[in-house]
């Protein structure tokens, strides 16, 4: 720093003239814009805005001016330094951007490279169809009931109004656990879960019960000894067959398509009376393929209807076996095969695909079906 202004030397202050300052600024700005990279700009900054730069030296000399001149010259120098600094700043940003763009361009990667290093797995479509069915009924207020796969014969048959030696027992080929006299079987249907639900739960009862069932069939394209069913049961005051029909209609619409309806045909199950076979309208052709050889339908075999399951009003004898007063309560029940549902709903053509556990089969369905 120079000391206080005690004398005024006209020679020394010539450099503070307007022209001289303007020259300094012009030189500085020219150098700034000429700087091609950040390193050069750093040197330019040192030369034109550093402590020893002409403008810094000029600023230092202001103190030597007579008081009358100080203000004018000070303003001029200050403006000059400001202009140089601003130019340096904006050039700095420009050069930094340029550098970044270069670096980022260098870092280019083909982002179409495979990114899925560990592929997704899958859930079994039988599981997800069962969950879908459960969700439809949960939305209607039903709970999901469960029961054991090795089940007491009493629960699987007797309580369902299938007494010993009844022909209905030979309709289903049963695996016996232990010995044929043990009273324990692999459940042949999900219907025993009805019995458990009625014994374990408070009335009214609205449940669906998905599960694994067993029959002594050899595995082939359309049979498997281990398969899945879902059972529905409602026991309440005043239930009607119309309620059963409406429930099944709603279910069919949720599973297939809006507007799909069901059809009941009289049939026989020991645990329901009246009993019915349950058909669902073909969701592919909606019956348009019937007697229309020009447009056959593979899903329904041009029948317009697909056999889906069985249903009926709970036989009062079944209510009696679980201690529910048939004079007060009525029930309806229905059941269908999950494999069969998956076959016609998703176009599975061979039962073995659902059994063998080939990854490629399940992976095609992902987390939903």
């Amino acid at each position: 720093m120079s000391g206080p202004n005690t004398s005024f030397d006209p020679k020394q202050v010539a450099v503070l003239g307007a022209e001289a300052i303007a020259t300094m600024v012009a030189e500085a700005l020219a150098a700034v814009s000429a700087a091609g990279d950040l390193a050069v700009l750093k040197e330019v900054r040192l030369a034109h805005a550093g402590d020893r730069s002409p403008l810094a030296l000029a600023n230092r000399d202001i103190g030597a001016l007579p008081p009358a001149a100080k203000a004018e010259v000070g303003k001029r120098v200050g403006e000059a330094r400001g202009a140089v600094k601003a130019a340096l700043g904006s050039r700095q940003i420009e050069l930094e951007r340029a550098r970044d763009e270069f670096v980022l361009a260098e870092e280019f990667i083909d982002v179409t490279l495979p990114a899925m290093r560990v592929p997704l797995g899958a859930r079994h479509p039988l599981t997800t169809v069962m969950e879908r069915i459960c969700d439809v009924f949960i939305a209607m207020g039903y709970d999901i009931a469960e029961g054991p796969e090795a089940e007491a014969e009493w629960v699987n048959f007797d309580a369902l109004n299938v007494p010993p030696d009844h022909p209905a027992r030979t309709m289903q080929d049963t695996f016996y656990v232990g010995s044929p006299e043990s009273g324990v079987v692999l459940r042949t249907q999900t219907s025993p879960i009805q019995i458990r639900a009625m014994l374990d739960r408070q009335l009214p009862i609205y449940v669906v019960a998905p599960g694994r069932v067993y029959r002594t069939d050899e595995l082939d394209a359309t049979h498997t000894p281990v398969f899945h069913q879902v059972e529905g049961l409602a026991v309440d005051v005043g239930l009607t067959m119309g309620d059963l029909k409406g429930t099944l209609d709603h279910f069919a619409q949720e599973m297939f398509d809006p507007g799909i309806v069901t059809r009941l045909r009289p049939s026989y199950f020991p645990f329901t009376e009246p009993s019915a076979e349950l058909d669902v309208q073909c969701f592919v052709c909606r019956g348009a393929s019937i007697d229309n050889s020009a447009e056959p339908c593979r899903t329904c075999g041009s029948e317009g209807w697909i056999e889906w399951g069985g249903c009926g009003m709970v036989n009062p004898r079944v209510l009696q076996a679980v201690g529910i007063d048939p004079a007060k309560y009525r029930g309806f029940a229905f059941g269908m095969g999950i494999e069969r549902t998956l076959m016609f709903r998703n176009g599975v053509t061979d039962m073995r695909d659902m059994v063998e556990g080939d990854l490629r089969f399940s992976l095609a369905f992902g987390l939903e079906s």
Partner: protein, 826 residues
């Protein structure tokens, strides 16, 4: 049950425009499941003429005898034609069936005029086999009568439609033309003359004739037994053509007049009949129980061992038949039988069902008796049979003997309004009554109640619900309304149902694929898995009737099925598999005998508990098998295989997603690599095992080396999941990070050191993480250095350097005490 349409039309007036398919649709709506509508001779395309054989020239110069025939097929068929024929069962003057050139026979065989055996054969004389009417091979068809040139098709049943009906167990009456035509009469609204109530015209027996005697030892099992006697029958008499045709269409093979008549009447009316050769009987014929240990050779040439619950037919010499199931060989009608006794009886359905099941003998008779035969039909049916036998086989009617228990059909009371209430739509009293009467019920109206008597052919109608079904099915299920009940407020998925779904989703999202394997296992698989005999995974629950003797047990572990599925996938070219299964396993010793409570009331709590106590324990398990590539080679580097840590990680992931806490400790499961097996503990108990499979197990299943697995008791894990998770205190104060390394003996586990450090560090410790393991020159032999990153934080203040240092030192001290850990470099 096969029902020819022309036979149905003979019994009721079905509108003429109705095809077999139309009739089938009616029956389906009524609840009879028509599986197929078949057209007999449906493969015949073109005319078939009745031809009269005018001349036969025997051609003998060929390897087999050949006939050159002149056959008159009438003006319509082009007059007399020369036809070559290889059959020999006809003579001049016989009426035969002729297919002319242009007609196509089943199998696409088109008749053409052709030179053969030195003549131009201008058509074909047909056999039943050639028209696909039967398997009969003995020569061509000779018609009993006919006019040359007439259409032969109706005469031989070609074009006849036959309904094949799968009869459900409750509808025994539909195993007859009588029952099926009754349903059709209701459906079409046409009158029904019940052929089962026709009294056949029988000649009066001679006054001194003595019919064969009969009896029943047990009226519970045999409520009605009748025996009708005919003598002097012509054993050579043949069955009429129409009867043979109907039997063939009905699925039965014509045999002889006596047998054909009993079968014909059974098809027509539903009453099984049995014809005995009277001369082979000794003394009265009766129904009774077999002596244990006795035997009988039945008509199918099988010698059957009998027990005390076999109902048999006996004479004074012993057992001559299995009641309602199959006759004995010794009393069978044969080609010389001239004196016949026809048995018509009623046997209890359950008795016959049990016998048929035990002897694995399902006959036309047993199928009817076990579904219930008309209780009063026997004498009508045997009269019908006797009349047919006498009509076509001559003989003299001797009479009938019968024994019968009193018949009380009982009365079912039903509210008039019940069908409407169950159906959920209006059904008035007139409709209810009319429909019940149409199915044969007697109905009395008593105020709001109906007193209904079921007809004797409807043993299935016992409860009001049965009557409701009759009414509603005849009103038509298609008329039911579609309404929705208001269900009670539900609970949604249960905790365990929700968590199982979450686990499945998580595993799939992490690359695992769910499979559903069969739960059948055998000793060889369990041996291959090295599961010791005393291990809980050694299956004890055995099937009495397994599909394969190789796999008689129910699984007690999910791993055998998963390993086999992994092998299948690897075998099909998969380079790596990650499979999981959520499923029941079956544990415990073989069961005793589960109780069979009454079905007339709710089982008592004790009974219910005893019943459940006898079932094997069936916990839900989760199994995972990880084999081969976890991550394929790619631009990121070389491939990475599944290992023990992936299995342990899966356990930790599952526990974490459901909020359960598990701990991992070094395990020693024999299925696994002895040094690479982890026991998974939860709530202080082992609940599973994870790690690398034992190399011998891997080898037994031909899996890639280092294949790994996990099996968990999911029920136990889910039971420990918190119902509710409390919120954490999230401190905004700064964290103090401290790294430290301790040297421990190799035998000390990381889990133990981590636990000691955690315990010693106290509440200020926010987290602890192992970030390096070192063993080498800088640590003693048999030791390693474990480097941990510790993070300390207080909920309410910035920790001072002294506080952090104290907590750090506490951790070190505790690790020293518990694990012999020595701080490294400090």
């Amino acid at each position: 049950m096969r029902a020819p349409v022309s036979w149905l039309r003979e019994l009721i007036d079905i509108p003429v425009d109705q095809t077999g398919r139309d009739i089938a649709a009616r029956l389906i709506n009524a609840g009879l499941e028509v599986e197929t509508v078949e057209t007999i001779g449906g493969g015949v395309n073109g005319a078939l003429y009745v031809g009269k054989v005018l001349e036969i020239e025997e051609l003998t110069e060929f390897k087999k005898p050949i006939r050159w025939c002149q056959v008159d097929v009438g003006a319509t068929g082009g007059g007399v034609r020369g036809i070559i024929c290889g059959a020999r069962n006809f003579t001049v003057g016989d009426m035969v069936v002729v297919a002319l050139p242009g007609t196509v026979l089943p199998g696409g065989f088109e008749i053409a005029s052709r030179e053969t055996y030195g003549h131009l054969s201008d058509g074909m004389i047909c056999s039943e086999r050639e028209l696909a009417l039967s398997e009969e091979q003995d020569g061509i068809m000779v018609l009993p009568a006919g006019t040359a040139g007439a259409d032969a098709r109706p005469l031989i049943g070609v074009g006849e439609e036959v309904l094949d009906i799968a009869v459900t167990p409750d509808r025994g009456y539909a195993l007859s033309l009588r029952g099926i035509s009754r349903e059709l009469a209701i459906s079409y609204g046409v009158p029904f003359q019940d052929p089962g109530l026709n009294v056949a015209d029988l000649p009066a027996p001679a006054p001194d004739a003595v019919p064969a005697q009969c009896g029943s030892d047990d009226f519970e099992a045999c409520a009605l037994f009748t025996l009708r006697t005919i003598v002097g029958f012509d054993p050579k008499a043949a069955s009429p053509q129409w009867m043979k045709q109907r039997l063939t269409a009905g699925g039965m093979r014509p045999v002889s007049l006596a047998v054909d008549v009993t079968n014909y009447v059974m098809l027509e009316l539903g009453q099984p009949l049995h014809a005995f050769d009277l001369d082979k009987l000794n003394g009265p014929v009766r129904a009774g129980w077999a002596e244990p240990g006795s035997t009988l050779e039945t008509l199918d040439h099988v010698t059957r061992k009998l027990g005390s619950d076999d109902l048999v037919i006996l004479d004074d010499d012993g057992i001559i038949g299995l009641a309602g199931t199959m006759g004995g060989l010794d009393s069978e009608i044969d080609d010389d039988t001239i004196n016949i006794a026809i048995e018509a009886a009623h046997f209890a359905p359950r008795v016959i069902a049990r016998m048929a099941r035990r002897h694995r003998l399902s006959s036309e008779a047993s199928r009817r008796f076990e579904r219930g035969v008309d209780r009063t039909l026997a004498p009508y049916a045997s009269a019908r049979a006797a009349a047919l036998l006498i009509e076509f086989g001559g003989g003299h009617y001797v009479g009938m003997t019968a024994v019968e228990a009193p018949y009380d059909p009982g009365v079912i009371s039903m509210r008039v309004s019940e069908p409407a209430a169950v159906a959920g739509m209006p059904i008035d009293e007139e409709t209810v009554t009319r429909l019940l009467e149409a199915v044969g019920c007697g109905v009395l109206i008593n105020g709001n109640q109906l007193e209904v008597q079921a007809p004797p052919w409807r043993a299935d109608l016992t409860d009001p619900a049965d009557l409701v079904e009759e009414v509603v099915r005849l009103v038509g299920y298609e008329n039911l309304p579609s309404t929705l009940p208001i269900a009670a407020a539900g609970h949604g998925l249960s905790n365990s149902q929700r968590l199982k779904r979450r686990i499945g989703m998580t595993l799939a999202a992490r690359g695992a694929v769910e499979v559903l394997t069969y739960p059948f296992v055998g000793d060889s698989e369990l041996d291959d898995m090295q599961i010791p005999v005393a291990d809980i995974r050694r299956s004890k629950v055995r099937l009495a009737n397994p599909l394969s003797d190789e796999q008689p047990y129910l699984r007690a572990s999910l791993l055998p099925g998963l390993l086999s599925t992994a092998r299948r996938n690897i075998g099909r070219g998969s380079s790596g598999v990650s499979l999981f299964e959520l499923g029941s396993v079956f544990q415990g010793e073989s069961v005793g005998v589960a109780p069979r409570p009454s079905v007339l009331e709710r089982p008592g709590a004790d009974e219910w508990a005893a019943l459940n106590g006898l079932l094997p324990s069936q916990p839900m398990h989760l199994g995972i098998v990880l084999a081969g590539e976890r991550e394929a080679a790619g631009w990121w580097g070389p491939s990475d295989d599944h290992g023990w840590h992936d299995a342990v990680q899966m356990a930790q992931v599952i526990a974490e997603v459901i909020g359960s806490e598990i701990t991992i400790e070094q395990g020693g499961d024999l299925v696994f690599h002895p040094g690479r097996c982890a026991t998974i503990n939860c709530a202080g108990k082992p609940i599973g095992v994870a790690g690398e499979l034992h190399p011998r197990v891997i080898q037994a299943w031909s899996l890639p080396t280092r294949s790994s697995a996990l099996e968990l008791d999911l029920d136990a894990l889910i039971a420990s999941a918190p119902a509710l998770r409390p919120a954490p205190a999230v401190s905004a104060h700064p964290v103090a990070k401290e790294d430290l390394a301790v040297v421990v003996a190799d035998s000390v586990t990381v889990a133990a050191v981590t636990a000691a450090l955690r315990a010693g560090a106290g509440d200020l410790l926010e987290s602890i993480r192992l970030f390096d393991i070192y063993s080498g020159p800088q640590v003693p032999d048999g030791h390693c250095s474990l480097a941990f990153a510790l993070r300390f934080r207080a909920p309410d203040r910035t920790l001072s350097a002294a506080e952090t240092a104290a907590a750090r030192q506490g951790a070190i001290n505790r690790a020293g005490l518990d694990c012999g850990a020595v701080i490294r470099g400090g």
